[in-house]
Every structure is written in C-alpha cells, then in structure tokens.
Symmetry: C2
C-alpha cells in the first residue's frame, strides 16, 4: 500500500476514535474542511507541517500515521 493510502486510513481511523467530525478536526488544525476529506481519500499529499498539526489535534505521535495495519 502506498504511503498516502496508509496515511489516509490511519487519519480516518484516528479521527473516528477521537470522536471528531472532519469539520471539527479541520477547524482545530487550522486547515480547510474539504482538505481533510481529500486526505482521507488519499487524493492529496499533505505537508509535514500539516501532518504535525493533525497529530497534535488528535493527540498521537506523527509516526502513528504511517502504521501499516496490514503488517499486524
């Protein structure tokens, strides 16, 4: 699986676990709501700065976005 798809899967999973909507997460992270949707569909490649903001708002280590569930 490509890294974008791994990131997308983890972002959606961790956002659901946090109980936040795409809109709420986007607002907290200071990014566009539609952009969260694009990222969760692996339709865009986020920058490191965006990855950091999303990790902070979700309360996870940035490296967790790269966990490949297929490995487990």
């Amino acid at each position: 699986m490509k890294l974008r798809e791994i990131f997308a899967t983890n972002l959606r999973r961790m956002r659901h676990a946090s109980g936040l909507s795409q809109e709420e997460l986007a607002h907290r992270a200071g990014i566009n709501r539609n952009y969260v949707g694009l990222l969760e569909r692996a339709a865009n490649s986020p920058t490191l700065d965006t990855i950091e903001r999303l990790a902070e708002e979700l309360g996870v280590a940035p490296a967790r976005f790269f966990d490949d569930q297929a490995d487990h």
Copy 2:
C-alpha cells in the same frame, strides 16, 4: 523540537549513513538538489509523497524520519 527539525536531523543522518551526497539522493529521488539542502535545514515542509520517495531511496521506513533522538 518541531517535527520539521526532527525530520531534518534524521534525513541528514540517514543520508550520511547511506554514503550519498545531497546531489545523489536528490537525483535518485527525482527531486531538486537544492531542495534536499532546504529540507536538511528545516527550511521547507516536504509533502508525504516526497517523504515516501526519500525513504525508499534511503531504504528506511518512513516513520524513522520522525524518531526523536532526544527521547533516547
């Protein structure tokens, strides 16, 4: 330490470990040589796609770029 700086430190460390120059790594990863220098100075925020290409060329898991040596 901010994630950009952690990434920059790890990129430089892993590039040195691989024995590649900035120019060689840039060529292999299909990115601009000057851009590798910018990333190693934490002066730019790479995209996920660029992080993936650099990890592939360096033969490391992408999550290794986020290892915080200060934690160890």
